[in-house]
Amino acid sequence: AQSVTQPDIHITVSEGASLELRCNYSYGATPYLFWYVQSPGQGLQLLLKYFSGDTLVQGIKGFEAEFKRSQSSFNLRKPSVHWSDAAEYFCAVRGPGNKLTFGTGTQLKVEL
């Protein structure tokens, strides 16, 4: 069965600093990978997705992620974090039946 690991439970960065959130996955076939963001009290919003092709994918709000098959990773990055980026971020992998398996999430705090 597929699984997703997000090793960082909490991350704190200063506004304007760069950000990298880690995600490692386990899946037997070519993975479909996603990053979702959840603001407090809200549902999940899709940031970006990887299905195939270019391993560097661009998403909304200035985020990007790089798929590295050799490392089974799909890390999320942003060059300059804004205070409004404070939220919880979830990495997910698609399995059979189009079901998503989520990681446990990384809570991002942005210091002004």
């Binding site: 999940l44 899709l46 997705k49 299905f51 195939s52 039946g97 998503l100 989520f102």
Partner: protein, 122 residues
């Protein structure tokens, strides 16, 4: 276009009471899902449906039942609520992947989520 709508948004139950959460989508999506979100555990799949009249178990189905009598609605029921079912519940839907192939630019494979339903069982 409302997307995915969940009702109610908040509910407090006593142990042993029953209730139903309703998920409605107006996007003509075939697949629908119920997840629960608990601190430190991410989202875990409870049940899902690949079309009207079908349901299947997910990762944590015990204590829940579901029904998909109409394509646009997916109901999650708790017959006898327990404190362990205190959680935030999310519904999601998506197109049938096979219809759109593997086109990464299609809406298939991407789940649209509702805003969540916070349930507290005392």
């Amino acid at each position: 276009n409302a997307g995915v709508t969940q009702t109610p948004k908040f509910r407090v139950l006593k142990t042993g009471q029953s209730m139903t959460l309703l998920c409605a989508q107006d996007m003509n999506h075939e697949y629908m899902y119920w997840y629960r979100q608990d601190p430190g555990m991410g989202l875990r799949l409870i049940h899902y449906s690949v079309g009207e009249g079908t349901t299947a178990k997910g990762e944590v189905p015990d204590g829940y039942n579901v029904s998909r009598l109409k394509k646009q609605n997916f109901l999650l029921g708790l017959e006898s609520a327990a404190p362990s079912q205190t959680s935030v519940y999310f519904c999601a839907s998506t197109l049938t992947p096979g219809l759109a192939g593997n086109d990464p630019h299609s809406g298939a494979n991407v789940l649209t989520f509702g805003a969540g339903s916070r349930l507290t069982v005392l």
